[in-house]
Subunit: 130 residues, 2 copies
């Protein structure tokens, strides 16, 4: 069976699960969400598809938290906030993803690199943990 993106049913389900949550899940979380609805799903498939999404530019890694890689399929450049107590990852509006407008050029000159993008992460306590 085919679905919207020419994805297999499982790939589509994995993508849908990923894109429609804001918790920045791990592979295992995605697997646990889908397993009940899709009993014939294996964790390996989730890992393989997450790798495919990264490759295709449909998802990116937000970092590794407690040893597990966490993913985000909201591809707008935006900062994240990570609670140092509960390790929740919260999206920060993309308007805050802003640096001094000359920063790229100056750093490129000073450090002899070519910058393509940057990411900003905030750390602290979320409202539940304050």
């Amino acid at each position: 069976m085919q679905s919207k993106r020419n994805f297999s049913a499982k790939r589509e389900a994995i993508y849908e699960t990923l894109v429609s949550t804001d918790i920045h899940p791990s592979a295992e979380w995605v697997y646990e969400q889908l397993k009940p609805k899709m009993p014939g799903l294996s964790l390996g498939t989730v890992y393989r598809n997450l790798a495919v999404f990264k490759e295709m530019g449909l998802a990116r890694s937000v970092g590794v938290i407690n040893g597990q890689e966490r993913f985000d399929a909201k591809m707008t450049q935006h900062p994240h906030f990570i609670c140092q107590k509960c390790f929740r990852i919260i999206d920060i509006p993309k308007g805050y993803n802003v640096l001094d407008k000359n920063a790229y050029t100056m750093i490129e000159r000073e450090c002899d690199v070519e910058i393509e993008l940057h990411s900003i992460t905030f750390y602290g306590l979320c409202k539940k943990c304050c």
Copy 2:
């Protein structure tokens, strides 16, 4: 035997190795550096001590690259640049670790969090990989 910080000889050696490099090494790299000079050193000890340093605020994690956690003992807040090809991690002068001066307050209000610090990472190609 005691050394400067009341560290054991091995802890001291691990710390010195970490603090005097700018490559943001993995546990294994530290181990490989020291093993020849200190044949009776085990990788577990390196891991344990890196955890101790983080706990003590003498080191922090710079992220996980290719599955390995990378450390930094230069505790000044500064951005990093990660080359997307060779995965080198380069320090960016701390002067660039700057956001709009109201950003913390505004985000705290808007997102209902309490921010303690932030980190900025740039991605692109280093001069060797351009």
